[in-house]
């Protein structure tokens, strides 16, 4: 790295200087006189090369002809005094200072020389020092870069005019006897780099502004200044480094994660809550749409809340049974009355509200001693409920087959009454309702018993309610196996006569206490269907085997036979030949059964003669049961065909 420290216009002066110097270390070897003529840059690696080179000798006058020579400064011992790097000083070789001089004298010498000094160093030799005051006129040396007046015996104040030295970079006034305050004008010298005012008698405050910002107590040591070191800011205990960035990031991430987790888990939680509410009762409560005071004729419209309270929130413990239309719950209303609440299956509740209301109204029109009266209903957008009075004695089926040991069996008189009551109820449905109602699922389980063991037909009207297309042809056959009339099973077409068939089977259940369809009978090699089993026994004339053993023989044979006759009439294969329910009622009341039976026996006889022409032996109308095979429900004439 080559620095150009010295610029000059003629090599003669330096050449003269070189020749005049004793140079034991050969540091001036590069000062080639020929080079010095041609180049304008004197290559010194570092200034200290010279400062430390122990050069001795006399300065030559020729150096005075170097107006632009910078940096070099002789001390009073005529040694090269190398100043700070970057300092620009003018060398005035005509004034070798010897002995003590006043500063004014020195300055006069300098100005008399006719050059404007850039650098002023006044240093005494070991024997002398400059005395006097720092003169105000120093402020006129505006080109001055360095002012070194240290280690003299200067007295007085530091002149304010020194602040005019706007190019000053070095100001060293230390080790004098200066007094007074530090002029504030000094702080305006922006270029000031080095300041030393130490070891004087200065008083007052130390300025801290402007260029003085750089200067530390070292520059002001050993004075009488108020607070020599401008008070440093109190040392702060190192606070723990702020982790806000990281922690806030973590907080954001955590918050986002938690939020998302909640957001995503919310559907599941909602689902869980919904199912929890829904699972036991499958209900949506929309009470706002309900007006419990609305009555449809005799019908009360219940609120869902009411029914929820009544059934203990549709608790499973209150389930009475399950039919084709939904579960039935036992409940107790606020007035203390017991009710059975039938909850229609969800898929059945898609119909319009108006339609449902109409149908319910229709059912409620069927009011009869032997029909289960509809007390009311409940309707929400998702639920349809029907409210019936609770029947304390259950159903015929449960009384026949699920009787506990403590309950007495249904005696014969009650069974007769049940047969008549059920027939009356069905007859009313068929004949006195407009439009007529076909039950389609007549069976012992659907004949309920009130507290007086009066038959009450239940579960009617719903088929129609559920099947809004007002035809008797349903997509699915409704009914219970063993009770379904053959033509209903084969054609899907139902009529009053299908109900008559079911009623007939129900009568047989009532008499025998058996199930209409019981696979258990297979074990005894008997018929699975009750009707076939009864017919088989009748052919063998085993009436005792046929009648329910629970009766313990307490029955009248004739009446049993009559009931069986009615049952058989009702279960004829051809719907046309079955009596109407109103006829059944009359027969049971003792009117016309014998005639009807006689007639049918004759017809059967003829038919059998016709079919088994030559195998027929003799005929005893009252002694022998002539019974067509129920399974051959296709009319015999169709089998044989006309001759």
């Amino acid at each position: 790295m080559i620095h150009c420290f010295v610029f000059y216009e003629t090599g003669d002066a330096l050449n003269a200087l070189k020749t005049n110097m004793a140079d034991p270390n050969n540091v001036l070897q590069s000062w080639d006189p020929t080079l010095l003529h041609n180049i304008k840059c004197l290559p010194f690696r570092e200034f200290s090369d010279l400062g430390n080179a122990n050069l001795t000798g006399q300065l030559v006058p020729q150096l005075g002809s170097l107006p632009n020579l910078q940096y070099l400064m002789p001390d009073l011992n005529s040694k090269f005094q190398v100043l700070l790097k970057g300092t620009r000083c003018t060398l005035d070789v005509r004034t070798p200072m010897q002995g003590a001089r006043t500063l004014l004298e020195s300055f006069e010498v300098l100005t008399l020389s006719g050059t404007v000094p850039l650098c002023l160093v006044l240093r005494p030799d070991n024997n002398a020092s400059i005395v006097g005051k720092v003169d105000m006129v120093l402020g006129n040396l505006t080109e001055l870069v360095s002012l070194d007046l240290y280690l003299n015996k200067l007295t007085g104040d530091i002149p304010t005019t020194l602040g005019q030295l706007k190019k000053l970079r070095f100001l060293r006034l230390n080790n004098n006897s200066l007094v007074g305050t530090i002029p504030l004008s000094l702080t305006t010298i922006d270029t000031l780099q080095v300041l030393d005012l130490s070891n004087n008698g200065l008083v007052g405050d130390v300025p801290v502004n402007g260029s003085f910002s750089l200067f530390t107590p070292i520059s002001f040591a050993n004075n009488k200044l108020n607070n020599p070191p401008p008070a440093p800011p109190p040392p702060i205990p190192p606070t723990p480094p702020a982790q806000s960035g990281i922690s806030s990031t973590g907080a954001i991430a955590g918050g986002v994660a938690a939020g998302a987790a909640l957001l995503f888990a919310a559907p599941a939680i909602v689902l869980a809550l919904w199912r929890k509410r829904k699972a036991p009762d499958h209900f949506f409560d929309v009470p706002a749409e309900e007006d419990p005071e609305v009555h449809l004729g005799q019908l009360k419209r219940f609120s869902l809340r009411e029914l929820q309270v009544a059934t203990d929130n549709f608790s499973n413990k209150n389930i009475l049974g399950r039919g084709g239309f939904g579960k039935v719950y036992k409940g107790r209303l606020a007035d203390g009355s017991l009710v059975a609440v039938k909850r229609l299956k969800e898929e059945r509740t898609q119909g319009g509200e108006l339609q449902f209301q109409t149908e319910v109204e229709m059912i409620s029109m069927a009011v009869h001693r032997n029909l289960l009266r509809l007390r009311g209903f409940c309707m929400t957008p998702t639920e349809r409920l029907l409210v019936y009075p609770f029947m304390v004695n259950g159903s015929v089926a449960s009384c026949l087959r699920e009787r506990s040991e403590f309950e007495p069996a249904l005696d014969w008189a009650i069974r007769k009454r049940i047969a008549l009551g059920a027939a009356r109820g069905l007859a009313y449905l068929h004949d006195h309702c407009d439009p007529k109602i076909i039950h389609r699922d007549v069976k012992a389980a659907n004949i309920l018993l009130d507290e007086e063991f009066e038959a009450v037909v239940g579960d009617f009207g719903l088929a129609k309610l559920m099947d809004y297309k007002d035809t008797h042809v349903t997509t699915a056959v409704r009914g219970t196996i063993g009770h379904i009339a053959p033509e209903y099973l084969s054609t899907g077409k139902s009529s009053e006569k299908t109900d008559v068939f079911g009623y007939g089977v129900m009568l047989l259940e009532l008499i025998t206490g058996q199930r209409a369809f019981d696979l258990a009978r297979l074990a005894n090699d008997d018929d699975v269907m009750l009707l076939d089993w009864v017919k088989g026994l009748l052919k063998e004339r085993k009436l005792e085997t046929l009648v329910d053993s629970d009766l313990n023989g307490n029955y009248i044979d004739e009446e049993v036979e009559q009931l069986i006759q009615v049952a058989l009439l009702c279960t004829q294969g051809t719907p046309m030949e079955r009596p109407k329910m109103s006829e059944v009622v009359r027969m049971l009341e003792g009117d016309g059964l014998a005639e009807r039976w006689e007639e049918w026996q004759k017809e059967e006889m003829v038919r059998q003669e016709f079919n088994q022409a030559h195998h027929y032996n003799h005929h005893q109308p009252n002694a022998n049961w002539i019974i067509a095979d129920s399974t051959s429900h296709i009319p015999p004439d169709e089998l044989s065909g006309p001759r």
Binding site: N316, G321, R322, L448
Partner: protein, 267 residues
């Protein structure tokens, strides 16, 4: 009387104070930790360390003296390597330390805090690592802190904003992170505030005068990922839980309902 003698003695000693033992230790240790592959440090010898200054004359290249003590150390652009010795703090009169434009590595010694007269600290364009020592605040006269173009990490110490005389501050082009102390980026009153050029080139530095939260430890993408991931996980978990629970309760209910006789009245 005694005080006077002491004063006289010190006064007598000052003019040509020979070498200072503290400076010698300072320079010796510094020369040991600094590496000078190109031999640019001429005269950095033990004999020079013992007597670096003669009054205002420095015999040591790069060192400047005042009153027999080193007050400025300027070793710039010399291809120096190695590290900065913590014993540099023995140069107690040091007012200016300029080691810029070298290849010095290691950390900035905390012990620089003992350079109580330090006014200029320029360590720019090196390979310095680690954090900016907050203890620099104890150098109460610091006017200039220039650390730009290094490999410094961590956050900018908040305390640096308390340096009343700080007029130049540059930490640009480092690997600093975290928020810019308000006391530096948004200073009030007569204190100069430092603009974005003092802080730019630090990927993870944010806050005025730089854009707020420019980049954080976790990118937005990562946060969204975490959120979605945990959300999906909780979704799966909660639905599984709900399904299992529903299954159990349904089975219980079915078992309960199974007790209901099929021969109950049908209504």
């Amino acid at each position: 009387m005694g005080l006077l003698i002491v004063l006289l003695l010190t006064c007598a000693a000052l003019p040509w104070a020979s070498s200072d033992p503290s400076d010698e230790a300072c320079l010796t240790h510094l020369s040991q930790t600094l590496k000078d592959p190109l031999k640019n440090l001429q005269n950095w010898t033990k004999s020079t360390f013992a007597n670096p200054c003669s009054g205002f004359t420095s015999y040591l290249p790069g060192a400047t003296c005042n009153n027999g003590r080193i007050y400025k150390l300027s070793l710039t652009n010399l291809s120096l390597q190695g590290s900065i010795s913590p014993f540099l703090s023995n140069c107690t009169n040091l007012q200016s330390l300029d080691l810029s434009s070298n290849s010095i590595s290691g950390t900035i010694p905390q012990d620089l805090q003992y350079l109580v007269n330090l006014a200029v600290l320029n360590l720019s364009s090196n390979r310095l690592e680690g954090e900016i020592p907050p203890q620099l605040t104890l150098c109460a006269y610091l006017n200039v802190i220039d650390l730009h173009d290094n490999l410094l990490t961590g956050q900018i110490p908040q305390e640096l904003g308390l340096l009343a005389r700080l007029s130049a501050f540059d930490v640009s082009y480092n690997k600093l992170s975290g928020p810019i102390p308000a006391s530096l980026g948004n200073r009030s009153g007569a204190l100069p505030r430092f603009n974005a050029t003092s802080f730019e080139g630090n990927k993870d530095l944010y806050g005025y005068p730089l854009p707020p939260m420019k980049t954080k430890g976790l990118s937005v993408l990562a946060i969204v990922g975490i959120g979605l991931g945990s959300g999906l996980a909780s979704l799966v978990l909660s639905f599984t839980g709900v399904c299992i629970w529903l299954k159990i309760t349904e089975e219980k209910m079915a078992a309960e309902e199974g007790k209901v006789s099929q021969y109950m009245p049908d209504y």
